[in-house]
Amino acid sequence: MTAVEMTLAPAPSIDLPTQPRSRARHLRSLLLGLVLPVGLGAAWELAVHLGWSDGRLVPPPSVIFATLWELARTGELWTHTQATVLRVAAGFALGVVAGTLVGAIAGYSSLSRRVLDPTLQALRSIPSIAWVPLFILWFGIFEASKVALIAVGVFFPVYLGVMGAILSVDRKIVEVGRAFRLSGPALVRRILLPAVLPSYIVSLRSGLGLGWMFVVAAELLGASEGLGYLLMDGQQLGKPAQIVAAIVAFAIIGKTTDWLIEVATAPLLRWQDAYGQQAGEA
């Protein structure tokens, strides 16, 4: 240890001292992000209030919230949300399990990659809605076909994410494991898994995003309950406020589930360079 390094070294970089400041910044950037939607909503509310528009096709926020409140009060919102969330949960679970397994196999063994990947890439390029008729024939018109469609949507980003992550694991770090004579399973557990974790989580999040997209498609195409059904129902009965209310519900649940993944996995990723935080502050 040289004197220079000792004096130049920053104080032990525990996170504590910087936290209050970064929290304040976090709050500020959150508020900054709210300016636009809140401002637009308020302006529209005012316009309808002043009679510049009747707000029939584009209901103002107050009407939307009243509708949401009404749906919640009658318990309808809960029934529909539950139906949708369960579908996404089932499809997401299936898609993640399949995507992780197949992605891991394709990433780990180059032979199976050469066998599997071309086919999967070809399947991936099919617009997923095109599967719907086939899934309905195969799985019937009820839950199974919807869950299958969501699972397909979730599968591909997870598959690609896992395979890509395994392929891009730094060979040099794997070599460290070899130099310390780790067995195959230990190498997977102590080197490969932690190394792929960050991109795995990203792929889970994009898989979930697609899951939410596909549940709408599935429910629009025929369902007797679910937020997608609320959308369709709103259209058929000419109730734009109900449509927007359902959209708002989708947005809130989608964002919440994404946030849940983020929060649940954050402790696993504390070691990463805090690039996102810095970029956010800049």
Binding site: T2, E5, E175, V176, R178, A179, L197, W271
Partner: protein, 261 residues
Amino acid sequence: MLALDQVGKTYPNGVNALERFSASIKPGEIIAVIGGSGCGKSTLLRAIAGLDRASRGTITLDGDIITAPHPKIGIIFQEPRLLPWLSVADNVAFGLDGLSKQERTARVTEALKRVGLADKAGVWPRELSGGQAQRVAIARALVPRPEVLLLDEPFSALDAFTRRDLQDHLLDLWADSRPTLILVTHDVDEAVVLADRIVVMRPRPGRLFEEIPVFLSRPRDRASALFEDLKRRVLTSLDQSLDRAVPDRQDKPVSGEAMWW
């Protein structure tokens, strides 16, 4: 005793990277391997580490033939290669599986103290400077108490000041348990300051060109005349190994890391 007998390596693409390399290295000896780029230094080291298998010849450590990484052989790479998801202390403990938790903590604490990073035990690798990270890598390689420690240009990515510091540090640590050190370098200064014996290699195919013993006592004075003489000798040998005309070095001052590579 580490013995290399006619070791050769041809890569699958046909490159003959190493040819008939023989040496026997006593326990505790410090060997510096020096030579132009592409003359098989890394190939040699990786074969001793068991990370690659030699195509010809045998490498034995105390009678064990080396074909895979061996518990008594440690390696330090040019980059620290710390695992970014482990704290500094956990990185150092990475190779200490068989031990009790208590013993492990004791060794890690001691090693971090020895490399002057006791206060960094809990931080992530990304918070370290290049020199600090490489010291952690040295600690990680040393805690399992290897009998042979291989170093592939371990300090070449560092600035001159940090490099000197780490060279001294390495000698210090070596004095604790006196493992055999095999150090690949392209820094003539480094070779002369550290080694008991300097192995000069030549390229195409990579092979041994000359061995230069270093009979200087430690600690070595980098400014002494004997030191300068040895440096000149090594530089001359390097020039010859690359079939270059040997410039008359007698009256010119030697300017540290030469331009030879």
